[in-house]
C-alpha cells in the first residue's frame, strides 16, 4: 500500500501548467482529490476549470497545440508518463460532458459500447453490466422497455443519465463531470444531482459547475479557479461561509466584475 492509497487520495495534480500554444491557460495548479468525495471546481467562465478537468483524463491531448507541464498522479502512476496508455487511463477516469452526447445507437448499445471496445465478448456479462449501470444511473425504470430504441429519442435529462450510465459501465475509478446539468431543466438537474450523491459512495467525483448553488449542494470540497489559477480550496461548507480570501468571497457573493 502506497502512501496515497492509505490516506484516501485518488488523484493529485502537482504544479500543473497548461498551455495552448503560447497562451498559458493554467498556472501551477496543485490539488488532491479524495476517494468517495465530490470535489467541485468553480469559477467564472474562462477561468480554466474545464481545461483543468480535461487534463485529468488527458482529453486535451486531442488539441494539437496543447502542452502540459507538471504532474498528475492517479494513485501512484503519473498519467502523463510516456509509457502510460492513454486509452487505459480514460477507462479508469471516465467523463460526462456538458451537452449530453449519446451515440446514434440504441440505448442498450450506448451502454454496452465501452464494454465492447474494451474487449468484453461475454454476452451475459455485457447484459448484466448494462442493466446494472442503467440502474445505478437511476434511469432503469424510464428506459427498461425501450432498450433497443434509439438513444436520441430520450429527453435531454435522460440522455445525460444515459451518458453517466455509459461512463459507469466500464467501471471507472474517477468520474469527471463537465457542467453535466448546464444544458438541462431544473427537474432533470435535480435528478443528476441526486445521482451524484449516490455515486460518490463508490467513485471519486470531480465536477465542474458554473452554479455555486450546485457546488454547495453536491460537493464535499470546492476549489475556486480564477484566470488560470487555483485561488482557494477547502471544505465546501467552509468555503461558502467563511472564505479565506477576498477574491473568493467576491465571487461567491456575486460581487464580481
Amino acid at each position: 500500500m502506497s502512501d496515497s492509497k492509505s490516506n484516501g487520495v485518488k488523484m493529485t495534480s502537482k504544479h500543473l501548467d497548461f498551455y495552448y500554444g503560447n497562451f498559458q491557460a493554467l498556472h501551477d495548479v496543485s490539488l488532491e482529490f479524495k476517494k468517495q468525495q465530490v470535489t467541485a471546481l468553480i469559477g467564472p467562465s474562462g477561468c480554466g476549470k474545464s481545461t483543468y478537468l480535461r487534463c485529468l483524463n488527458r482529453m486535451n491531448d486531442l488539441i494539437p497545440i496543447a502542452r502540459v507541464e507538471g504532474k498528475i498522479m492517479l494513485e501512484d502512476e503519473d498519467i502523463y508518463d510516456p509509457s502510460l496508455d492513454v486509452v487505459m487511463l480514460r477507462r479508469r477516469v471516465g467523463m460526462v460532458f456538458q451537452k449530453p452526447n449519446p451515440f446514434p445507437k440504441s440505448v442498450y448499445e450506448n451502454v454496452a459500447y465501452g464494454l465492447r471496445v474494451n474487449g468484453i465478448r461475454d454476452k451475459g456479462l455485457i447484459e448484466q453490466r448494462v442493466t446494472e449501470s442503467i440502474q445505478r444511473a437511476a434511469l432503469w425504470d424510464e428506459v427498461k422497455d425501450r432498450l433497443q430504441e434509439s438513444a436520441l429519442g430520450l429527453s435531454g435529462g435522460q440522455q445525460q443519465r444515459l451518458c453517466i450510465a455509459r461512463a459507469l459501465a466500464v467501471e471507472p475509478e474517477v468520474v469527471l463531470m463537465d457542467e453535466p446539468a448546464s444544458a438541462l431543466d431544473p427537474i432533470a438537474t435535480q435528478k443528476i444531482e441526486d445521482l451524484i450523491h449516490e455515486l460518490k459512495k463508490e467513485y471519486t467525483i470531480i465536477i465542474v459547475t458554473h452554479s455555486m448553488q450546485q457546488a454547495a449542494r453536491v460537493s464535499d470540497i470546492t476549489a475556486f479557479f480564477y484566470i488560470g489559477k487555483l485561488i482557494e480550496v477547502g471544505d465546501t461548507d467552509t468555503l461558502f461561509t467563511r472564505p479565506r480570501l477576498k477574491q473568493t468571497e467576491d465571487y461567491i457573493t456575486g460581487r464580481f466584475g
Binding site: 471516465g94 449519446p102 474494451n118
Partner: protein, 297 residues
C-alpha cells in the same frame, strides 16, 4: 417610389427563379432529344431484343442491335472499378478527415482535386500507352487493353468524388461523439469504426453511388482502354466495349438517322437511365437519411 422598388424586387425574384430552372430545362431537353432520336430504333427491334440481344453487329447486313454485351461490359467495368475505388476513396477520406495533421491534409486535398481535374482523355491515354503494355508484360495477357485496365483507370476517376464527399460527411460528425467514445477508453480506431463511420454512413453511401455513377458514364477511358470487343466477357482481362465507348466510337460513322444512328441514341437512353437511377438513389439517401448530429435536447 416604394411601389416601384417593390415591383423591381418582384421582377428580379421572378427573373432569378426562371434562370434557376435552366438546369431542369436542360435535363428535360436532354431527355426529349435522346428519346426523339433513339426511340425510332424500336420500329426495327423490340425493346427486349435490343436490351438482351447478345449480338452487336450494327454494320453487317442485316445488322444486329443487341446491346446486352455492352450493358454487361459497362456493369462489369464499373463493378471492378468500384471494388478498387470504394476502399481507396473512403480510406483516403478518413485519413484526411481524421488522421492527417492539418499540414499534411492541406497538401493532400489539392492532390485529390487535381486528380479529379485530370482530363479523362489523358487518363485514357496513360492507360493505353503506359498501363496496357505493363499489364501485358507482367500478367502475360493477350492484350493490355481490357476490362481490368479500364476499371483501374476509372477507379482513379471516381476516387476524388468518393473521397471529397465522404470527407465532408466524416468531418461534419460532431466532435462530441468522438470525445464521448474516447472518454470511455476507446482507441481512435474504435471510435472511428464504431461511432464516426456509422454516424456518417449516409454521406459515405452517397459518395460511393455518385462515384459509381461517374464511372458508368465515363467515356474516354473506356473508349481508349477497354479493348473494344462487343462480347460478354468471361474474365476480367478480356477486352470489352461498354456503352459509352460504343456510342463515341461509332457515332461518327453511323449514317445520319439510319438504324445504327437510332440504336446509338437508344444506347444513350439506357446509359442516361442508369446514371439517373444512381443519382436519384444518391439523392434519396442524402435527404432521407440525413446525418445524425448531436443529441437534441
Amino acid at each position: 417610389m416604394a411601389g416601384k422598388r417593390q415591383s423591381t424586387e418582384k421582377v428580379m425574384r421572378t427573373f432569378f427563379f426562371c434562370v434557376a430552372t435552366a438546369s431542369i430545362a436542360v435535363l428535360f431537353m436532354i431527355m426529349v432529344f435522346l428519346f426523339m432520336e433513339g426511340l425510332p430504333v424500336f420500329n426495327m427491334v423490340s425493346v427486349k431484343e435490343f436490351l438482351f440481344g447478345v449480338y452487336w453487329y450494327p454494320t453487317s447486313d442485316p445488322p444486329d442491335f443487341g446491346i446486352y454485351p455492352l450493358i454487361v461490359a459497362s456493369l462489369a467495368v464499373t463493378a471492378v472499378s468500384a471494388v478498387i475505388a470504394i476502399p481507396l476513396g473512403v480510406m483516403t477520406a478518413i485519413y484526411l478527415a481524421e488522421l492527417a495533421s492539418k499540414r499534411v491534409a492541406e497538401i493532400f486535398k489539392p492532390i485529390v482535386e487535381l486528380l479529379a481535374a485530370l482530363p479523362s482523355v489523358v487518363i485514357g491515354f496513360f492507360g493505353m500507352v503506359i498501363v496496357a503494355p505493363f499489364l501485358q508484360q507482367v500478367l502475360g495477357v493477350a492484350t493490355g487493353l481490357n476490362l481490368f485496365n479500364a476499371a483501374l483507370m476509372l477507379a482513379f476517376m471516381s476516387i476524388p468524388t468518393i473521397c471529397s464527399i465522404s470527407e465532408d460527411a466524416i468531418y461534419s460528425v460532431p466532435n462530441a461523439l468522438r470525445e464521448g467514445s474516447l472518454a470511455l477508453g476507446a482507441t481512435q480506431w474504435e471510435t472511428l469504426w464504431r461511432v464516426v463511420v456509422p454516424a456518417s454512413i449516409s454521406g459515405i453511401a452517397t459518395s460511393v453511388i455518385l462515384g459509381i455513377s461517374r464511372a458508368v458514364g465515363e467515356t474516354m477511358v473506356v473508349l481508349m482502354v477497354a479493348g473494344g470487343a462487343a462480347m460478354v466477357p468471361s474474365s476480367i482481362f478480356d477486352p470489352v466495349r461498354p456503352m459509352p465507348a460504343s456510342i463515341a466510337a461509332e457515332m461518327a460513322e453511323a449514317p445520319f438517322r439510319g438504324d445504327h444512328y437510332y440504336a446509338l441514341f437508344a444506347t444513350g437512353i439506357v446509359l442516361f437511365l442508369f446514371t439517373l437511377f444512381f443519382n436519384i438513389i444518391a439523392d434519396i439517401i442524402a435527404t432521407r437519411y440525413r446525418q445524425v448530429g448531436e443529441a437534441s435536447l
